[in-house]
């Protein structure tokens, strides 16, 4: 059996009375590229946010390399409102802020690009390198950390070189063309030295040619950095081309999973995407 990097167990996200993610369980194995697809509003990004600590799941647990990193059960007002399943299965409460989760070795990009807009490309990547810094405010102020700083800068340059961003390193991030901004966001995530890369709609707003480039880019990054990739995407060409496995959710529920060809022919998936006439 393949070793899993990320495992989500019975995760439910409920906002007030709305169940955005309903009892979702899935696994991502080492070295795989796995996609999460589904119609708009199916709860894909919410699931991502629960994994990365932006939201706290209402119920369920998340494991990273077999270690439980998030676990929760309905509390307070939610006790009465809770509509999901498996209530009471996860008595432990473990919550981590996004920075702690990134520290474990999981880095993400965002659906609507979130770069440090006023900073240069170089600084954007350099900041992600701070994750492993050992200096404190005094040693940093008096430059006693110059060796570490120098190393961080060299690593940043190396990363920019590998990802073909070296020629724009002194540009302000927000002045880059759209496709480059997406690349930069991935580069920034890579600078945290992750094992698992989470990409939230990396091809959103791209034309077919840029999408093809991105497909190659993601593959290259996976091989070069020995990564596992978990991504949300709408561009079916990209998804079918790149994925080892695909999960499909609709209204927060998992409706199908499997290899690309299986998904393409799955009647449930076709129904979710195209709808079905009422009286047939």
């Amino acid at each position: 059996m393949a070793e899993h990097v990320l495992k989500i167990q019975d995760v439910t996200m409920q906002f007030g009375g709305v169940v955005a993610v309903d009892n979702l369980s899935l696994e991502v194995n080492r070295g795989e590229i796995v996609s999460l697809i589904g119609p708009n509003g199916a709860g894909k990004t919410t699931a991502f946010n629960a994994i990365t600590g932006v939201y706290e799941p209402t119920n369920g647990a998340i494991f990273f390399h077999d270690k439980m990193i998030v676990s929760n059960h309905p509390q307070g007002k939610m006790k009465k409102l809770y509509k999901g399943e498996n209530n009471g299965k996860y008595p432990k409460v473990i919550r981590k802020t996004p920075d702690k989760i990134t520290r474990l070795g999981m880095a993400r990009t965002f659906q609507n690009i979130r770069l440090f807009k006023s900073m240069t490309v170089f600084d954007n990547v350099l900041i992600a390198k701070h994750l492993r810094r050992t200096s404190n405010i005094f040693t940093a102020t008096f430059r006693l950390n110059y060796k570490e700083e120098k190393k961080m800068r060299e690593e940043t340059m190396e990363l920019l070189r590998i990802l073909d961003l070296l020629d724009v390193k002194d540009e302000i991030a927000s002045s880059l063309p759209y496709g480059k901004q997406r690349h930069l966001e991935i580069a920034r995530a890579l600078a945290t030295n992750p094992e698992l890369l989470l990409l939230d709609e990396p091809a959103a707003g791209m034309n077919p040619q840029e999408t093809d480039e991105l497909t190659a880019f993601i593959r290259r990054v996976r091989d070069e950095f020995h990564l596992t990739v978990f991504l949300i995407e709408h561009h079916m060409n990209l998804v079918m081309d790149i994925s080892d496995r695909i999960y499909v959710i609709d209204f927060g529920k998992l409706i199908a999973s499997g290899k690309p060809q299986e998904i393409q022919n799955n009647p449930e998936v076709i129904k979710a995407y195209l709808g079905v006439a009422d009286d047939e």
Partner: protein, 371 residues
């Protein structure tokens, strides 16, 4: 420009500024306006930079600066008023017993003032920093008011002298003392802002959520920025107390916070050099250049209308409003004054002047191109 020429020019520039301050110190009369403006400017520059550190660099819109200045000013005053002058200062209620024969040297008291402010910032920051945006601004504003009221309250009479305030606060013997302290503090802040921590602060300002996703601990960094900013604001408050020789609960009202905020905005949010320049310019305008507006003036036998006491402040606030409305990014925007910047500025403006000259010299060529 190469790196060495830049370093040399910077050194020359720093020497010129230092020489100018020394000249003013040596050759002007102790009551001259220039001296006042320079000293006050230095104090305000320090406080403005400390506010910019929080509002401009970290993106935390705080309005509590006056509170920390009050804390610093009182902490400094309480420990430095000469022992033999204390009975005179606390003539109504007497001085607390533990304070009676206790006083600290000026530099120690200054650092202590900063630490008092930093400690309060740490404690207040734990709850308040959880608030977002406007609510954080209001909570810090509320904190500043609480500090003012507590300092003037009767239970503290024997320490802070209640609503009477403290007087006879000693200062540096030398005219240069304030400049040296302000310069050291600003230099420390600049070093910090250019370090990895400064970069993290800017990342939080640009995008909190992305910064957190890149592994920056938000709570820790915000707390750090708040404490550091308050430390230097408190030292600024102490310098102000030193300069005024007196402090009371009404010295640092909300209006002072607003005033400093306007200095920061005029200099440019996120620019240290902007804040420093703007502090000196604004103080000079307010205390010196606009002074004549406050007196009735005559040209020949004709009295210029409107000029009387108070008109200066009206014009001053109108100028501030104009800057806020039409030069929203301030003097420097979020850039720093640099040799490259100055070089670039002249490169951009000078050719346009030359260009106009060229145009007048050979009109045929210009016309030919168009035809």
């Amino acid at each position: 420009m190469t790196k060495t020429t830049k370093t040399i020019s910077s050194c020359v520039f720093a020497l010129v500024v230092a020489a100018a301050i020394v000249c003013v110190g040596q050759f002007s009369s102790p009551s001259s306006m220039l001296r006042t403006v320079l000293q006050m400017g230095a104090v305000y520059a320090l406080i403005a930079v400390s506010m910019n550190l929080l509002n401009g660099f970290t993106g935390l819109f705080s309005l509590g600066q006056a509170g920390f200045m009050t804390l610093g000013a009182y902490a400094y005053a309480i420990f430095t008023i000469p022992v033999d002058a204390r009975d005179g200062v606390y003539y109504l209620t007497g001085v607390a017993d533990w304070l009676k024969n206790f006083s600290l040297p000026i530099p120690v008291a200054l650092i202590l003032a900063g630490l008092v402010g930093a400690l309060c910032a740490y404690l207040v920051g734990i709850p308040v920093l959880r608030l977002k945006g406007d609510y954080f601004a209001i909570a810090t504003l509320g904190f500043a008011e609480i500090v003012r009221i507590v300092m003037a309250s009767t239970p503290l009479n024997r320490v802070t002298n209640g609503s009477m305030g403290l007087t006879k606060i000693p200062g540096f013997k030398s005219y240069y003392g304030i400049f040296i302290v302000a310069a050291i503090c600003i230099a420390l802040m600049v070093l910090m802002l250019n370090s990895t921590y400064g970069r993290s602060f800017k990342a939080i300002r640009d995008d909190e959520i992305a910064a957190e996703a890149m592994g920056i601990n938000l709570a820790h960094h915000k707390q750090l920025a708040f404490v550091i900013s308050s430390f230097f604001a408190s030292i600024g408050g102490a310098l102000m107390a030193m300069y005024l020789n007196a402090v009371s609960a009404t010295t640092f009202t909300v209006a002072v916070t607003y005033y400093i905020l306007l200095i920061v905005v005029i200099g440019g949010m996120g620019s240290v050099t902007g804040s420093v320049l703007s502090a000196f310019l604004v103080i000079a305008a307010k205390e010196w250049w606009l002074r004549p507006l406050d007196q009735e003036q005559f040209i020949g036998g004709f009295k210029i209308p409107l000029l009387r006491s108070g008109f200066r402040m009206v014009i001053f606030s109108v100028i501030l409003m104009l800057v806020v409305l039409f030069f929203r990014r301030g003097i420097m925007g979020d850039h720093e004054l640099s040799w490259d910047g100055i070089y670039g500025f002249f490169k951009k403006t000078l050719p346009s002047l030359f260009h106009r000259k060229n145009k007048t010299q050979d009109p045929e060529k210009e016309g030919g191109a168009n035809g």
